[in-house]
């Protein structure tokens, strides 16, 4: 069987896979609502005249409104760097304990309106989570004033009270997320050192405690290794969603993508239970039961050790096909040494140990794995929180401070911790929360102190040993808050600000004490301006020696792996993070809530992911509400009631629920969306220590008769079996550059490149804008969608409206499955306005509101549009979006408003995030992608003002800029020097246009996806699983 597009059938849903014809009741049919049937409408002549008269009068009176007096209030003293209307870019970084990204923040008149990945600094890639983070800055539900015992106080009173309260306290515990910055850490440590028994605990929601312990035991350093994904020829992932959610997904994606172009392609094996974004991109995805993961890693280790001539426990038998897969993966890992890498995201010592040892045996250290460089994104030790609970129960803590953490909500034993906190409070322990919001933990605290958003704070970070980042605030505190470090300094009785503290620390530790004040100032200014500084490496880790301790650890791990494997036959629940929502920290961010998960393509809320096999087996239907009861290790049980989502590619007996939902107290968007799944998790003990584990086998499922709709966007349109995506395998591609794209080649040969048309040939005078999207590089992460929303003021509409197919995204990432329904191949395709030269939408517009521009852009004049929606109907790509209601508050009639409460259009504060260069559309108007016309115009103007030609690559669209993998290329097709032209020429064999046979002449080309898969034999094997 050939692997090309020709033989493939693509499908979006299980119904479609089994012959869906567009009218399944499950999907709601072709139309989201019943069509209005023609009504016999009888009206007398008089009634008609009356209606006409009243209508005419209403229109006339509504349009006659007094012209409002507009004020123009200039600055009193205009800041030097601010010119109204001209943006200023500041370098800074984002870090909220979950994800790190170095950024350039675009500010207009002093307010940040867009985050852009830093073009030069390390970690200069953004995920959707970071792209949408400005909404969380302008969140009106943030705390504004300190609350002491339920009463709002002012800052002076609070500081006085706290100084008094903290004086003479003995035992103080501070719980922080991972702090990476030298100065930040130094300050917190200084603070706790001021008490007789002060200690700082690090709590990570997504813990890497096991990996830290393993690195410490094996290599003697307690930090994570840096993963050079770009150097790995063979990459094996085991339960690790490193492209979607694990550690630094956007950064990993940028490294991964360097090896996904067919000219220099790695091979990626992924063993996993739930279908993750990473698994969807793997060349070979092997579904496993989650409790098999340790055994799989041990199998890899044993096989590699055997080849390396090292004694190792024999591999566990996992069944014929899986053993074969492991043989193959191990063989390729060994053959590719030292450019091979195994990654697992599990917080389990055996898993991490076997992964690290395998990496060390293939000689990955120094190539694909770097412990000297290190990675400091997680520092937490899971045992610490367990110890804290014990201390609270023993009443040995005087003051407990939570800084930027919310364990009551997102700790697997949050509810028991909450009990302990409540009891400790009664017995005199003082609970203080330094927090942006009055969230679940802060609600229990005696004292809740508001802190500033990361964008309002000075901060520093050392993500790797050779990188130091300084993050400047990009806006003054909007709500009268203070950054936590400043508050801390006040409580310590220091008359300095954190800015000065940071500078002093920087001078001492980074710039060096020597040198004049002026030299230091230059050093500092440069670092703040650039946002980063490269440091030299000094740490040394010890070589791998199989000490008796290590051998014992391996034996213990092997035993643990076989114990866990016993659970592999049973029902198991896995908690996971959805790519947009992640841990739920930003759950009140409407743009993130409405960003579809790349795999399930769902918005707004969580659900129970059920494999296709399990669904058949338990007779569960899609969207049927299930009751999930988890028996907990600490006793008792926890129950969630959520709809089922039947997901292809999930093996039998596996259920999944996303964390990050079911929030309380943090705002209207987050409330009543999904249910909290954190308490479903448990822990794994190993070597006398406990590790947070998001797998549990003590789970019961009870189907109910209820049904709850899931707001899916992939079901809104149907490709109807037309070939809109194309793919091939690397082997075939090497033999034939046109592999997978043969139909286009034949067509081109037949037509000799001439395009037969009755339309006049368009000629473009200055520029002709075009885009090429490489489907091999697109991993489907959705960063482009989030960036587009922010750049173009795209409104979120809410779950109810999404269910009615009223979502407004200008770019969407379509996900298609193909092949085996139990382990499908996944392909992602960003779909945006194709800017056709012969656009079907233009012909049908009765008012010429959409027309071709002189630069090849299909333009949309909102103020001309009368909302017939003919264009959307006639668009073969289904990329036009209609404003069914006033989602943005731009309409004249408040009656039409359907603004999402707490969304980015809701309040004066929230609206500060909007791009002032892009108009906010009102009800009854069609809209769609503009190729970021505002950016094109700005770049052209800059060139004209500088009196120079426009440079190639000077115009970037928001989606292109945000893409961590550089899958999107944009530019002037008329300019030979543009990368987009080079791509179109050099990769002609892979280039295709969607529905080219319609002769719409799109401006957006796609490059065929290439999978690194030895074509024939592997495919056959795949079918056996």
């Amino acid at each position: 069987m050939k692997e090309g597009t020709e033989n493939r059938r693509y499908w979006c849903t299980i119904e479609e896979a089994s012959g869906y014809n567009g009218s399944s009741p499950q999907q709601g049919g072709e139309f989201s609502e019943p069509l209005p049937t023609p009504v016999k409408w009888q009206m007398s002549r008089r009634s008609f005249l009356k209606a006409t008269g009243i209508g005419g009068l209403a229109v006339a009176s509504a349009s006659c409104w007094k012209v409002p007096v507009r004020k123009a209030i200039p600055y009193l003293i205009q800041p030097e760097e601010v010119t109204p209307g001209v943006p200023v870019f500041y370098s800074t970084f984002y870090w909220d304990g979950e994800e790190l990204a170095t950024l350039l923040v675009k500010c207009r008149e002093g307010r940040p309106i867009k985050v852009e990945p830093h073009p030069r600094a390390p970690f200069g890639s953004t995920s959707a989570y970071v792209q949408a983070s400005l909404v969380s800055l302008y969140d009106a539900s943030r705390m504004r004033k300190p609350i002491i015992n339920g009463e709002e106080k002012d800052w002076a009173e609070t500081d006085g009270h706290l100084r008094q309260l903290l004086a003479g306290k003995r035992s103080v515990r501070v719980v922080t997320p991972t702090l990476m910055g030298g100065a930040t850490e130094a300050l917190w440590d200084e603070f706790v050192a001021g008490f007789e028994d002060g200690r700082r605990l690090t709590y990570d929601v997504t813990s890497a405690s096991a990996l830290l312990d393993v690195c410490e035991k094996v290599k003697g350093v307690r930090h994570l290794p840096y993963f050079h994904l770009d150097r790995a020829d063979v990459l094996v992932g085991v339960e690790a969603d490193f492209l979607g959610t694990w550690l630094a997904p956007a950064h990993f994606a940028s490294l991964y993508a360097k090896r996904r172009h067919p000219s220099n392609m790695n091979v990626h094996y992924q063993f996993e239970s739930l279908l993750t974004l990473t698994g969807a991109n793997a060349d070979r995805r092997i579904p496993i039961h989650p409790f098999m993961a340790e055994a799989v890693l041990m199998g890899l280790y044993s096989r590699v050790a055997q080849r390396a001539g090292v004694d190792a426990p024999p591999p566990l038998t996992l069944g014929n096909s899986l053993d074969l897969q492991l043989d193959e993966a191990a063989e390729r890992l060994w053959a590719a040494r030292p450019n091979a890498l195994v990654i697992t995201g599990l917080n389990s010592v055996p898993a991490q140990l076997f992964a690290l040892l395998t990496n060390l045996l293939v000689g990955a250290e120094g190539t694909t794995l770097n412990l000297e460089q290190g990675l400091h994104l997680r520092k937490g030790n899971d045992q610490e929180l367990i110890d804290l609970k014990r201390e609270l129960d023993n009443r040995s803590v005087d003051v407990l401070i939570f800084y930027r953490v919310n364990p009551v909500y997102n700790y697997v034993f949050g509810d028991t911790l909450a009990e302990s906190i409540k009891q400790a409070k009664q017995k005199g322990t003082i609970i203080i929360a330094l927090t942006e919001k009055l969230h679940e933990t802060a609600a229990l605290a005696d004292i809740a102190i508001p802190i500033s958003n990361p964008y309002e704070s000075w901060k520093d970070a050392q993500p790797t040993n050779d990188t130091y980042l300084v993050g400047q605030p990009v806006v003054r505190p909007l709500l009268g808050t203070r950054q936590a470090e400043d508050t801390l300094l006040k409580w310590m009785g220091r008359e300095t600000t954190f800015y000065e503290y940071l500078r002093a620390w920087y001078r001492k530790n980074i710039a060096g004490e020597r040198g004049s004040w002026l030299e230091f100032e230059a050093h500092w200014q440069k670092n703040v301006h650039d946002g980063y500084r490269q440091l030299s490496l000094s740490t040394q880790s010890k070589p791998l020696v199989f000490t008796p301790e290590l051998s014992a650890l391996i034996l213990n791990s092997a035993r643990e792996a076989s114990i866990l494997l016993e659970k592999a036959g049973h029902q198991c629940l896995v908690l996971y993070q959805k790519v947009p929502i992640r841990t739920g920290e930003q759950a009140n961010n409407a743009w993130l809530q409405e960003l579809p998960d790349p795999i399930t393509r769902t918005t707004w809320g969580n659900y129970i992911v059920v494999g296709n096999g399990t669904a058949r087996h338990l007779n569960i239907r899609d969207e049927q509400v299930l009751e999930l009861k988890v028996l907990r290790a600490a006793g008792g049980s926890y129950q969630v009631r959520l709809p089922a989502l039947v997901q292809p590619g999930v093996p039998e007996n596996v259920l999944g629920v996303a964390v990050g939902y079911g929030r309380t107290g943090i705002g209207k968007v987050a409330e009543a969306v999904g249910q909290n799944a954190y308490p479903c998790g448990g822990w794994l003990s190993f070597g006398g220590k406990a590790y947070i584990d998001w797998r549990t086998s003590a789970v019961e499922v009870k189907p109910t008769s209820d049904k709850e709709s899931i707001a899916r966007v992939q079901t809104h349109h149907f490709a109807e079996g037309r070939p809109v995506v194309k793919e091939t395998t690397l082997e075939e591609f090497r033999h034939n550059p046109w592999a997978g794209n043969e139909d286009r080649r034949h067509w081109l040969e037949k037509t000799k490149g001439k395009r037969t048309t009755i339309y006049p040939q368009r000629e473009f005078l200055k520029h002709e804008w075009g885009m090429v999207i490489d489907l091999s590089l697109c991993i489907g992460c959705g960063a482009c969608v989030a960036a587009c929303n922010n750049e173009n003021n795209v409104p979120p509409v809410g779950k109810k409206e999404v269910l009615r197919r009223h979502d407004m995204h200008w770019i969407r990432i379509d996900r298609y499955y193909s092949g085996n329904i139990d382990n499908p191949d996944v392909i992602f395709q960003p779909m945006l306005c194709q800017h056709c030269d012969h656009a079907p939408c233009e012909n049908v517009c009765p008012v010429a509101a959409t027309a071709q521009s002189t630069e090849g852009i299909n333009q949309m004049a909102y103020n001309r549009c009368i909302g017939t929606r003919y264009c959307a109907n006639n668009c073969p790509y289904k990329v036009r979006r209609f404003n069914w209601y006033d989602y943005t508050g731009a309409d004249s009639f408040p009656l039409n408003e359907r603004i999402l409460p707490d969304g980015p259009f809701d309040s004066e504060l929230a609206r500060l995030v909007l791009n002032p260069d892009v108009v906010v559309r009102s009800r009854g108007v069609m809209e769609k992608c503009t190729f970021c016309i505002q950016r094109i115009q700005q770049a052209k103007l800059q060139a004209k003002m500088d009196n120079r030609p426009l440079q190639p690559g000077e115009v970037t669209t928001a989606c292109q800029q945000a893409c961590p993998t550089n899958a999107i290329t944009f530019g002037d097709v008329k300019n030979e020097k543009e990368t987009v032209v080079k791509k179109m020429k050099d990769e002609e064999g892979r280039l295709f246009f969607v529905l080219e046979e319609l002769h719409t002449l799109p401006s957006v080309g796609y490059l065929v996806k290439v999978r690194n898969r030895p074509a024939q034999q592997q495919t056959d094997k795949q079918a056996h699983i």
Binding site: V69, Q78, V88, K766, Q934
Partner: protein, 421 residues
């Protein structure tokens, strides 16, 4: 905070202007040729005129004869950075600082050549060698010739009506009335022929006007047509508020500042050189001069004097209160307009859209700034081909078409998303 964009842009622009205008060759020994004088005049009006006059003391001393009073080197140092001379304790500088209350702004971006040009201009002006150019005629929008309108709109020939709006409805009405009358008369005749035996009913002749349904219908049609015509006219003017001259919190007179004092528009509205908004100057900019200028004998439109208005300004400054000016020019939200494109790139005079501000005591909106107003200019104005950007993208096309420079509309000035996005 470090920024990627700084004030450098402005100074670069000013420098650029200076270099382009001066050809970069003006030197010491150069004679007062008209080109240098013109360059000096430009620079003087952009940078100096706010504080200096040639023949009389203003905020700063009268500049006539300054080249004889001071050495060149001293002048270079003083003009480019007066603070450094003061800090160094230069006796002349200290003396000047004592004598004049406003300290001179540093002009670090002026090159020696620029300063030379300014000085040459000052000398020439003091000697009366500069010929006074006639004041530009009031910018009135002369309607362009009708054939200029032969543009296409969405592929259809489009011709803007050259007649006044009321003519067409009036003609139609006239035609209808005449037609009605004729039909009515003909009708009567037919009736008479048919009913010759019967006596025509006796009623006054004018009564047929009221009773004849054709006449009544005709009247109705006339009313509707005239009404619609009027509604159309009124509707088209709606929101354009031509002649809008709101009362401002301070009765600022452009006539005094831009007219009599000859201060360049962009001296205060400097944003026009950099981006989207021309901007209203911050209070600090006003106070640059008004720290010293506290009196003015000018009598303004409402009868107050300049002194009274300056007092108001000082009041705002002392209270630290920004002034809430009322916007006179305001485009709807769905229009994107960038001043820099028009002022810097196209080199359009401010007066073309804002009217002859230099003669306005009270700022008044002079034109109906509608889409037609914009397009009229886009359709007639040729692209500035001395810009390298336009050269790069258009020179091949111009060669092919025999050297005809395209208009703005022909290269996309009529695209919807040129202004609406």
């Amino acid at each position: 905070m470090a920024s990627y964009i700084s004030l450098r842009g402005v100074s670069r622009y000013v420098l650029g202007v200076a270099i382009v205008l001066g050809g970069g060759t003006a030197t010491h020994s150069q004679q007062a040729d008209p080109k240098t004088i013109e360059q000096g005049k430009q620079l003087f009006q952009t940078n100096c005129v706010a504080c200096h006059k040639i023949n009389e003391d203003f905020l700063g001393p009268a500049l006539a004869g300054v080249t004889e009073r001071r050495s060149r080197e001293w002048l270079y140092a003083w003009i480019r950075n007066s603070d450094s001379l003061l800090m160094a304790g230069d006796p002349t500088a200290v003396e000047l600082d004592k004598k004049y209350p406003a300290r001179m702004t540093p002009f670090t971006f002026l090159t020696r050549e620029d300063i030379d040009a300014i000085l040459i201009y000052i000398e020439a002006e003091a000697k009366g060698e500069v010929t006074v150019a006639a004041a530009p005629p009031p910018a009135e929008k002369a309607p362009p010739p009708a054939e200029e309108h032969k543009e296409t709109l969405h592929g259809l020939p489009f011709r803007a009506p050259a007649l006044p709006g009321w003519v067409l409805p009036a003609l139609v009405t006239l035609y209808l009335v005449v037609a009605m009358g004729l039909i009515a008369r003909w009708n009567r005749k037919v009736d008479q022929l048919l009913d010759q035996e019967q006596e025509p009913p006796s009623m006054p002749t004018w009564m047929w006007l009221v009773t004849n349904r054709f006449v009544v219908a005709g009247m109705f049609v006339v009313l509707v047509v005239v009404g619609c015509g009027w509604l159309y006219e009124a509707g088209a003017n709606l929101g354009h508020s031509v002649g809008y001259a709101p009362k401002q919190p301070i009765e600022f007179s452009h006539k005094v500042h831009a007219g009599q004092l000859g201060i360049e528009c962009t001296h205060c509205h400097s944003g026009a050189l950099r981006g989207k908004h021309a901007g209203i100057p911050s209070l600090r900019v006003c106070m640059n001069c008004h720290q010293a200028v506290r009196t003015s004998e000018v009598v303004l439109a409402s009868g107050t004097t300049g002194t009274q208005e300056i007092e108001k300004l000082i009041g705002y400054w002392q209270r630290g209160e920004p002034i809430g000016w009322v916007r006179v020019f305001s485009l709807p939200d769905h229009v994107y307009f960038n001043h820099a494109q028009h002022v810097v790139v196209a080199g359009i005079e401010c007066t073309e859209c804002h009217g002859d501000v230099a003669r306005m005591n009270v700022m008044t909106k002079p034109f109906r700034i509608s889409m037609g107003f914009c397009l009229e200019c886009h359709r007639t104005r040729q692209v500035k081909m001395d810009n390298m950007y336009y050269q790069a993208v258009l020179s091949a096309h111009i060669r092919e078409t025999g050297g005809k420079v395209p208009t703005v509309a022909q290269i996309g000035g009529q695209d919807c998303q040129n202004c609406h996005y």
